[in-house]
């Protein structure tokens, strides 16, 4: 048996898929990322030419990258949820909740930094756990369950804060503020560094662990996954809970930069989901890329910053962002159609 096995293995590289049958799905996914990346490069070049002071290190790192961080962290966390075919609308206001939790722990309760951070991450985990419980154990539709949680996340920060006052963690607690504005690497904000580290962790989770494998298999065929002996409910619960930890990371980075505000992050859920979709992750589930979500977040960051530098009014910025998302989804549809024809 082992002898013949060797033959089987060796045979493989000799037989590349015939070009006439079209490209492999793996290659197509790469191309999709490449298309998003090309889009990022094109709009970056556009704003560099059209807008003054866009293509400077200071603007690119301290404005574009830093402002992409929150969307990016939410996007990579919620990629897992979207890969299962679910959706999480509570992530944006989750920033307000977890940020306010951090403020309460560190300033109001005066806990040490490490403990405060740990407890904040636990609050995020709990938020995700409740979402996961409602969706996978109680069987609620993800859209409704997380929409309700979004309202909870909108209200709770006001409840625990002092009449909705911002807790200025950024100025009152310098070591905490350093999480965002500090520079472990010279002239490179820690927030961006943390974002990159989280992205690497998420990439490993999605592509190299059973956590990611089951997220994809659940999104691809939930019934087959269950028939393969996988406890689908348990894994869905874990996936939502882990997404909650990413939300807490975003909450920490947000409150370290601008303080714990009860309205921080509201509305970012849609930008994060848009980033995921622009990156090539399918809202139907079963297919997702972390690199794509990072690129998607950068595209939104570049657009936000570039349009602002060019003096485009805020209301038009929304319109343009909407059009970009529509275009990304349409291009994805075209690509799917063409691959079916081939």
């Amino acid at each position: 048996m082992t002898e013949t096995a060797g033959v089987g293995l060796q045979k493989k590289p000799e037989e590349p898929p015939p070009a006439a049958r079209g490209m492999s799905p793996q290659l197509r996914m790469r191309l999709q990322q490449l298309a998003a990346f090309a889009g990022l490069v094109i709009i970056t070049i556009f704003f560099s030419v059209a807008g003054d002071n866009f293509f400077t290190y200071d603007n690119l790192v301290n404005n574009v990258l830093l402002s992409s961080v929150l969307i990016g962290v939410l996007a990579i966390g919620t990629t897992f949820v979207i890969v299962t075919g679910g959706i999480d609308l509570s992530i944006g206001w989750g920033i307000a909740l977890t940020g306010m939790a951090a403020g309460t722990f560190l300033i109001t309760w005066d806990l040490p930094l490490g403990l405060g951070l740990l407890m904040t991450l636990l609050v995020g985990l709990l938020l995700g756990f409740v979402n996961g419980f409602n969706v996978s154990i109680l069987g609620m539709p993800p859209f409704i369950a997380t929409l309700a949680m979004m309202l909870v996340c909108q209200g709770l920060p006001l409840v625990i804060s002092d009449n909705g006052a911002t807790i200025y963690l950024n100025s009152q607690f310098p070591p905490y503020a350093d999480l965002s504005g500090g520079t472990l690497i010279p002239k490179f904000p820690n927030a961006v560094l943390i974002f990159l580290v989280l992205a690497v962790i998420a990439w490993v989770l999605l592509n190299r662990t059973i956590f990611g494998r089951y997220a994809v298999s659940i999104g691809s065929n939930e019934e087959a996954t269950a028939l393969s002996g996988i406890n689908v409910r348990k894994w869905k619960l874990i996936i939502y809970a882990v997404a909650g930890i990413f939300t807490a990371c975003a909450g920490i980075l947000s409150s370290a930069r601008i303080g714990a505000s009860p309205t921080a992050g509201g509305g970012l859920e849609l930008q994060a989901i848009a980033a995921v979709v622009i990156g090539g992750t399918s809202l139907a589930g079963g297919k997702g890329t972390i690199v794509g979500s990072v690129i998607g977040a950068l595209i939104i960051g570049v657009l936000n910053n570039g349009l602002q530098i060019m003096g485009v009014p805020q209301e038009w910025q929304y319109v343009i962002l909407g059009v970009v998302i529509l275009a990304a989804v349409y291009v994805d549809m075209l690509r799917k159609k063409s691959s079916e024809v081939v």
Binding site: T4, A5, L9, R213, S220, A224, L227, S228
Partner: protein, 261 residues
Amino acid sequence: MTDQPILRLRGVNKSFGAVHVLDDVDFEAYAGKVTALVGDNGAGKSTLVKCIGGTYPIDSGSYEFDGSPVHVSGPRDAAALGVEIVYQDLALCENLDVVQNMFLGRERMRGVVLDEESMEIAASQTLTSLSVRTLKSVRQRVSSLSGGQRQTVAIAKAALWKSRVVILDEPTAALGVAQTAQVLDLVRRLADQGVAVILISHNMLDVLQVADRIAVLYLGRMAATVDRADVNQTQVVELITTGRSGDLGIQPATASAGVSI
């Protein structure tokens, strides 16, 4: 061949409310043999398979595995015994590749990360041992495979797990002629590896070509279990449609004995 069946059901009854779906059914599956389970729609094939697979607990009767009675109260119990069901259409994840599908739920790990290399080698070995040559690459996604190739992967998945009993639910439905031949070859090779294969099929040609034994269900009762060599197609079709054929099958009640030929 061994005389003792791996799987033996005796006097199995199963009712859903007032409907008596399985009536005192006996059924055996032997290592290295393909046992075809045939019967018309509503004869109770699916119910019997779900009883074997643990989805439906049996009302009465005995479920014996390797000669000793076992209690199967759920799919996990059946899987633990080594009973694997290959479903007709929902067995695979389209967005995963062949290796990922074959190992789904039983991934090999190296520390906390997946051991892709070892899984790829094991999957290739299994496919090679089954003489599967229709797959270009084990890293192809299932979405790019034909129906026959998908069935091949699903069957190979069962083989990879050293299953003792593999139940194939209509594996050739919706397949072309060439692909059907390939899948039937695969069924034969799976049995040759010592697996007890249970083949459910509506296609008489498939059954007669690949089966060693044929079990015919008729209205919830086991009309006959015959050796392939002892019957022809006409007899099997008669058994399926009327429950009897000559001396085979359910004999008419003693009161109307004169009817028999």
